[in-house]
């Protein structure tokens, strides 16, 4: 890598040492820019020597070592960020598919199955949303990106509220006896609200996607994949609130249909995201 013209021993030695120090950078960065960096350093050495002699070389080394440490740390940090981001993107489609299967348990009608299923579903969907944000966030614009973030943060806040309510019920049993039906419906709303918040985030992202078109195809799909359960959830929340915690049995079949729509649409969306990701990763 050292130019054949450089016969000056101090410059040749400096360049060789600098070249050896480049191993501290991430391999990919080294491969892409290592040779150019050595060339630039060699130019700097020649200029320093010409302008200030050996003192110039010493001063150059002081500046270069500082630069080397700073930029090496920076490149390693960027490398880590890029890696975790690409892993998240790679997994996002599958997280949405798995999340949709976990979501089906909510239809079972038994809390022992439905509640853990709801939590697992919400977490998987949140991972999927984070992947979508990493992949389409820039192209979706500020609002779309924020809606994906809000979906994830909203889910976390929901479950925090759920934990607080459960603690309150156990620590202060008076609450339960005084307003049992309200506490019960409140618990229900919080238990099954996680996926609703995440999917609401997806729906709002989908609305902006209709305009900004961040995906290479089917930009209407995020809305269709997100809207069903939030609608059911909002309806149920309003019904429970206005009917003193009573379940709307007469709308049960309609709600089950919307659950199924939610499951299928989410599955299809997850499959499309997974297929597109795999295609793009292969292409790059």
């Amino acid at each position: 890598m050292i130019s054949q013209r450089v016969k000056l021993p101090i410059v040749a030695l400096s360049v060789r040492v600098y070249q050896a120090l480049l191993v501290a950078y991430p391999t990919k960065f080294q491969q892409e820019y290592g040779s150019d960096m050595v060339d630039v350093f060699q130019d700097c050495c020649l200029r320093a020597l010409r302008q200030s002699g050996a003192n110039g070389i010493v001063k150059l080394w002081a500046v270069t070592l500082l630069d080397l440490i700073q930029s090496m740390v920076s490149e390693h940090m960027h490398k880590e960020t890029d890696m975790s981001k690409s892993q998240l993107i790679r997994f996002s489609g599958w997280a949405l598919i798995l999340g949709s299967f976990a979501f089906v348990t909510i239809m079972s009608g038994t809390d022992t199955l439905a509640f853990p299923g709801s939590v697992i579903s919400a977490i998987l969907l949140a991972v999927g949303l984070s992947g979508l944000r990493a992949r389409y966030g820039e192209r979706a614009g500020g609002f779309g990106r924020n809606m994906l973030t809000a979906g994830v943060i909203g889910m976390i806040l929901f479950y925090l509220a759920l934990v607080l309510l459960i603690v309150a019920v156990f620590v202060l049993p008076g609450i339960r006896s005084q307003a049992e039906s309200l506490v019960r419906s409140g618990l229900w709303l919080l238990m099954f609200g996680g996926p609703a918040v995440v999917l609401l985030g997806l729906t709002l992202f989908g609305l902006t996607a209709l305009r900004s078109r961040p995906m290479s195809r089917l930009n209407w799909l995020p809305v269709v994949a997100g809207i069903w359960y939030p609608l059911v959830y909002l309806f149920l929340a309003a019904y429970l609130y206005t009917h003193n915690g009573a379940y709307p049995h007469k709308y049960h079949n309609g709600m089950q249909m919307m659950f199924l729509m939610q499951f299928f649409a989410l599955c299809v969306f997850g499959a499309v995201v997974a297929a597109d990701t795999s295609q793009e990763m292969t292409a790059t």
Binding site: S3, R5, Y25, F29, E32, Y33, D36, M37, V38, D39, V40, F41, D43, C44, V63, T64, L66, D67, L68, Q70, S71, M72, S74, E75, H78, E138, R139, G141, G142, P214
Partner: protein, 126 residues
């Protein structure tokens, strides 16, 4: 990433390294060492970029579509037969540079209205 897909506001404010590299490329393409010399001259030696900072910034600016590589060739102004990679501004890069320069100019304007600066720059601070 194309210009249409980016929100230019999100790039601002630029880091000193990125701003100075864009500024160095504003009047034509340059290779890495040429950029380094120009930045040093433009900032009167206040911004000294080592090869690591220079190429780390170049890498990220290429990824963000602010600059692009034009070709590799020998620099006719240097007595050296090495081929060097040349870089130039993209349309997005030029737009971002203008926006950042305007942003900085408006800051300077505020400083001037607060009597921090002289009315013109020829005499320096009053």
């Amino acid at each position: 990433m194309t210009e249409a897909l980016q929100n230019p506001e999100e790039f601002l404010p630029l880091t000193p390294a990125v701003f100075n590299i864009l500024l160095a490329l504003a009047d034509g393409e340059k290779h890495g060492y040429g950029i380094m010399l120009e930045v040093e001259a433009n900032t009167k030696g206040q911004v000294l970029m080592g090869p690591g900072t220079l190429y780390g910034s170049i890498k990220r600016m290429l990824q963000a579509d602010l600059i692009e590589e034009s070709d590799e060739r020998v620099d006719p102004d240097m007595d050296d037969p090495r081929r060097r990679a040349y870089y130039r501004l993209t349309r997005l890069g030029r737009r971002i540079l203008r926006m950042e320069a305007e942003r900085l100019a408006s800051q300077v304007q505020i400083a001037r209205t607060k009597n921090i600066l002289a009315t013109d720059f020829s005499g320096g601070a009053t």
